[in-house]
């Protein structure tokens, strides 16, 4: 279980319904590791500040079976850096990034894919 204040997705069922039921989705798939924690922090702040109220934020433990959907997704095929952060619009992947991202970089992607 990741120690964040984000919504945790624990099963494939939860993951799929979260993607299906929300128009704009950002999921960070990682561990409690050095490059992951700053991304969770940025997401928590963006969610708290309601800067992107139309976006639903969640995290997913990289080592649970449900993470295979993201780990093996073609958009993440070449990634070798945690976390894998993936953005969905109407159920379709619109962007994926690998490794540490600042709040500014995350905001940049949210602007690019959801605004």
């Amino acid at each position: 279980m990741l120690r964040t204040n984000l919504k945790h997705l624990n099963s494939d069922e939860e993951l799929q319904s979260f993607i299906k039921e929300n128009e704009n989705v950002m999921i960070c798939c990682g561990r409690m590791g050095p490059m992951c924690i700053p991304v969770y922090g940025a997401m928590e702040q963006l969610e708290k500040n309601e800067e992107y109220s139309a976006v639903k934020f969640a995290d997913l433990d990289f080592d649970v079976p449900a993470a295979n959907f993201i780990r093996l997704h073609p958009a993440c095929r070449m990634f070798t850096g945690l976390p894998f952060t993936i953005y969905f619009k109407n159920g379709e992947v619109t962007k994926a990034t690998s490794s540490i991202q600042t709040k500014k970089q995350v905001s940049g992607v949210l602007d690019e894919v959801f605004k």
Binding site: R3, R31, M32, G33, P34, M35, C36, I37, P38, G41, A42, Q45, M78, F79, T80, G81, L82, S98, S99, T102, K103, K104
Partner: protein
């Protein structure tokens, strides 16, 4: 435009130095805000395990960082994460920090901005970042299980992480620009006796090569100038840290390594402006030394505020 927020002290950076300073000042009933351009925790967050911090046995880096953060906020310290600093005025009696989260004013500022991993700045480094190139062995080591990789660097981090990476990789080749290592003898011995580790010394890293992902590292021999490509799918870079001092270069004295120069009370020479932690010119950079710096800077700042 919103009104400036006034405090007794502003601390720039929420790593161990900044958080220690925050703990001491807020416990002394001073109003304190810590501003961080990332998230609170600093370098320990970039460390998997910390086993040499007295009083805390085998803590994960982020756990230790979270405890420090919690301790600071418990005493009333305000922490603002992910701020973007647009301007600083640090020489006046009332110092001002302008950010996207508002303007902060205080008679005291403690600079505790730490450092960032140094990069090679060569062709392919950005392109293959997280597609073969990594700066964190504990985060990304398992992506290279059964693969041939290189580690760039010759200090303690490079050699210790190279040994750690042999748990995953088939082979680890250490590439170093000099003909000798800067690491402690024990780290060198551990690397040398590991059968999976090879060494290419006295070489220059020219570029990273590949297509969708990293396929090799082009190096040249410093003596002969002869170049070749080492075929690998992973490269880990550990070539030291750069102090986050650029914002202050016109205000304080910087060393040749761009660290902020201060006396033993953490005074920068500018009235009311103190420094602590890895951004300060010093020999040893540990969580314990950062905490010590933060404590001293806070006590000096306290004396300054109450003078």
């Amino acid at each position: 435009m919103s009104e400036a927020k006034r405090f007794d002290a502003i601390i720039l950076g929420a790593g161990p130095a900044g958080l220690s300073a925050g703990i001491y000042l807020s416990r002394a009933k001073k109003s304190v805000v810590i501003l961080d351009t990332g998230i609170a925790g600093g370098a320990p967050i970039l460390t998997t395990e910390i086993a040499n911090y007295p009083g805390v046995k085998d803590a994960l880096g982020y756990e230790l960082a979270f405890i420090m953060k919690d301790q600071a906020t418990t005493f009333g310290c305000e922490i603002v994460d992910n701020v973007e600093i647009s301007s600083l005025s640090l020489k006046d009696e009332q110092k001002e920090v302008v950010t996207d989260e508002g303007t902060f004013v205080a008679p005291v500022v403690i600079i505790a901005t730490g450092g960032v991993p140094r990069t090679l700045n060569i062709s392919g480094e950005k392109e293959f970042n997280s597609r073969g190139i990594s700066y964190c062995a504990t985060c990304d080591g398992d992506f290279f299980t059964g693969k041939d990789i290189v580690v760039v660097g010759g200090g303690n981090s490079a050699l210790e992480e190279a040994v750690a990476l042999t748990a995953y990789a088939s082979s680890v080749t250490i590439l170093h620009e000099f003909d000798h290592f800067q690491a402690f003898k024990s780290a060198i011995v551990d690397a040398e006796k590991n059968e999976k580790i090879q060494f290419i010394m006295d070489c220059k890293i020219e570029s990273f090569e590949g297509d969708e992902s990293l396929k090799g590292v082009k190096i040249s021999d410093n003596k002969t100038g002869q170049s070749r490509v080492v075929p690998v799918t992973g490269a880990f870079i550990f070539i030291g840290y750069l102090p986050n001092s650029a914002l202050f270069k016109d205000v304080v004295t910087l060393s040749e390594r761009e660290e902020i120069v201060a006396d033993e009370a953490m005074n920068t020479g500018v009235s009311g402006l103190f420094v602590a932690g890895d951004v300060r010119q010093k020999r040893y950079r540990q969580v314990t030394t950062a905490v010590a710096d933060g404590t001293i800077a806070a006590l000096s700042a306290l004396e300054f505020i109450e003078r």
